[in-house]
């Protein structure tokens, strides 16, 4: 079958790896988006920008302070998380009592501010970030660049770590309880406002982590997040925001589908996820893993 489509095996696996990597970014971002939406009822439009900030912080750490990739992998997400905490405490907090749409509009405004500022500072063209793991490994069936292997393995680990944290630990059970009944959880003596701040910061840090992982693959560009976030919105609509595992599976699955589309009919690779979203909405409006509220 592959011969008919004129596709070579190395190319197939190459696109599959890239699809997995994109899928990992979709998964990481939609995870954070889902957790933030669950607890704060805010569609975090600035999520893509927080991904961009992760990549940009990594670049700045290397460029100005000489801190290499491995340091940035820890420091940049922490930085993005701090920025997120400040946003939550100073701005988002005021909007919980009004229509959810205002949260989306506010974070949209933040996208314009942050992107505009960094475009002014660094321009719209990409800045290269050197590959921390050059070379490749022969896996027998394909020759895989080391860095891409690392991203796939690491992001899968992070995704399942987050799943475990939320679904299997005491901390996660508080979080899930607060999503259902914040007033009751507060009554049991848990500081819900602080939990909200930390959750938002955590979601932002996850986006920032994806950004650091992306920096050596794609160039660091102030605009890299805004197009991604729209795709992630579509991923979230497809998967439904109800389940953590659903977000992970949907993210990786769509990344792979997108990668395969790039190979079979590249003109459609930009639109395939949106087309899938439209079909899913027509067949199962609540999303694959969602429940209609």
């Amino acid at each position: 079958m592959l011969d008919v489509l004129n596709i070579s095996m190395p190319m197939l696996f190459g696109q599959l790896t890239l699809g997995l990597i994109n899928g990992a970014f979709y998964a990481l971002l939609s995870l954070g988006l889902a957790v933030i939406f669950g607890l704060l009822n805010v569609v975090n439009f600035v999520h893509g920008t927080q991904y961009m900030l992760g990549a940009l912080f990594a670049w700045m750490l290397l460029h100005y302070l000489g801190i290499p990739y491995w340091g940035a992998l820890l420091l940049a997400p922490v930085g993005v998380g701090l920025v997120g905490a400040v946003i939550e405490v100073t701005l988002l907090r005021r909007l919980y009592s009004v229509d959810h749409l205002y949260g989306m509009l506010l974070t949209f405004g933040l996208v314009l501010i942050i992107e505009g500022f960094f475009r002014w500072l660094y321009g719209a063209s990409g800045m290269p970030y050197s590959n921390p793991l050059p070379g490749g490994t022969n896996l027998g069936f394909m020759f895989a660049p080391n860095y891409r292997l690392w991203v796939v393995v690491f992001s899968v680990a992070v995704c399942f770590g987050v799943w475990y944290l939320i679904e299997r630990t005491k901390l996660g059970s508080y979080l899930r309880a607060a999503i259902e009944r914040p007033d009751l959880v507060q009554a049991f003596g848990i500081n819900v406002p602080r939990m909200i701040t930390l959750t938002y910061a955590f979601g932002a840090a996850l986006a920032g982590l994806a950004g650091v992982l992306a920096a050596p693959i794609y160039q660091v560009n102030p605009l890299m997040g805004s197009n991604l976030i729209i795709v992630v919105f579509a991923v979230v609509v497809i998967g439904g925001m109800g389940s953590i595992m659903g977000a992970i599976v949907t993210g990786f699955g769509l990344g792979i589908i997108e990668g395969l589309t790039k190979m079979i009919y590249s003109e459609a690779s930009n639109t395939i996820i949106f087309v899938i979203m439209a079909i899913v909405l027509l067949i199962k409006p609540a999303g694959l893993f969602g429940s209609q509220k």
């Binding site: 959810h100 749409l101 500022f117 909405l281």
Partner: protein, 325 residues
């Protein structure tokens, strides 16, 4: 969590039957001002404001009266401008038919997008429209007739109905003003009709409207299609004025801009979108030299409006008048 607040601005007393006369006078004064405006202000600037204001009015019909936040209205605005531009430049169609085909296109696109988007509510609706608009953006980017990054340029300004010469900027202004007034009256009629009342009922409480026997999805779809068609009218008019259709008009930034204008003017107020459009276009004109800072300033405006003045300029003024009275 309550679903109101976004709508409170719509409840100004000016809409009640008792206040009908004074609001009619207000509109006539505004119309008179619009008629003499080209004597004072640059006509092309005014035309731009009118086109964008019509776009914002179309958007407001959906959010202000239907409670549906579309984050993808650029697909109708920019989509219609591509179709109109192509029809006039390549097919050599006259202006009025060119605009018509643009509106027909955006209306049909509204039917398709609406059928998909209204299957989800609230915040999901916004995400779905945004994603659909992004799909339309990529389609236009890849279709050969749109000219990719260059867009469709040098669209001719043909005389309307064969005898109204719109090569003259002042004449053009009055033609666009006519289109605008038509659009405004159409929306005014729609929101004050029984249909508009049902729409407001759905916005306030969809479940109750359903239990009263209304097919809420049909109402929402019709509102969406009307809004799409009017946004298309604005986009088609814009291509006639500026003789160019570009990718800018189908981007998510454009979708965001119309949200901003309506928010600044006042979500759900009859005249807010026009005020908002005037403010934002003026701002863009004065700030054009600042480059990237325009985005930052727009973002700051968003944050300030959402945090402090959710009712927008017109809504805040209406609230102030209310309080004084």
């Amino acid at each position: 969590m309550k679903r109101t607040d976004i709508n409170t601005a719509g409840g100004s007393p000016a809409q009640g039957p008792g206040r009908f006369n004074s609001s009619t006078i207000l509109y006539l004064v505004l119309l008179a001002l619009a008629l003499v405006a080209p004597a004072v202000l640059y006509p092309i600037f005014l035309v731009k404001v009118l086109c964008v204001a019509l776009f914002a009015l179309a958007f407001n019909l959906l959010i202000g009266y239907g409670g549906l936040l579309s984050f993808g209205h650029a697909m109708f605005f920019g989509g219609a401008s591509y179709i109109t531009g192509h029809a006039m430049l390549v097919w050599g169609w006259p202006t009025e038919l060119g605009i018509l085909v643009g509106v027909v296109f955006s209306t049909l696109l509204g039917v398709v997008a609406g059928l998909i988007a209204i299957r989800r509510q609230g915040i999901y609706f916004a995400m779905v429209t945004l994603a659909l608009a992004q799909m339309v953006y990529f389609i236009f980017l890849q279709m050969p007739f749109t000219g990719g990054e260059d867009g469709i340029q040098n669209v001719p300004r043909r005389a309307v109905f064969g005898f109204i010469d719109i090569a003259n900027d002042t004449t053009l202004y009055y033609v666009v003003l006519t289109i605008f007034v038509f659009g405004f009256l159409f929306i005014y009629r729609t929101i004050h009709s029984p249909f508009g009342q049902v729409l407001k009922a759905i916005r306030e409480n969809e479940d109750r409207a359903t239990s009263l026997g209304y097919h809420t999805t049909r109402f929402k779809l019709l509102a969406f299609v009307l809004s799409a068609g009017l946004a298309g009218l604005a986009g088609a008019t814009k291509v006639v004025v500026f003789q160019i259709a570009t990718l800018t008009d189908v981007t998510w930034q454009m979708s965001g801009e119309v949200v901003l204008m309506t928010l600044v003017g006042g979500l759900g107020t009859v005249f807010g979108p026009v005020v908002g459009a005037a403010i934002i276009i003026t701002m863009q004109d004065y700030l054009a030299t600042f480059g990237e800072w325009v985005l930052v300033i727009q973002g700051v405006t968003f944050v300030i409006m959402v945090s402090l003045f959710r009712r927008g300029v017109v809504g805040e003024i209406a609230a102030l008048i209310n309080r004084v009275r």
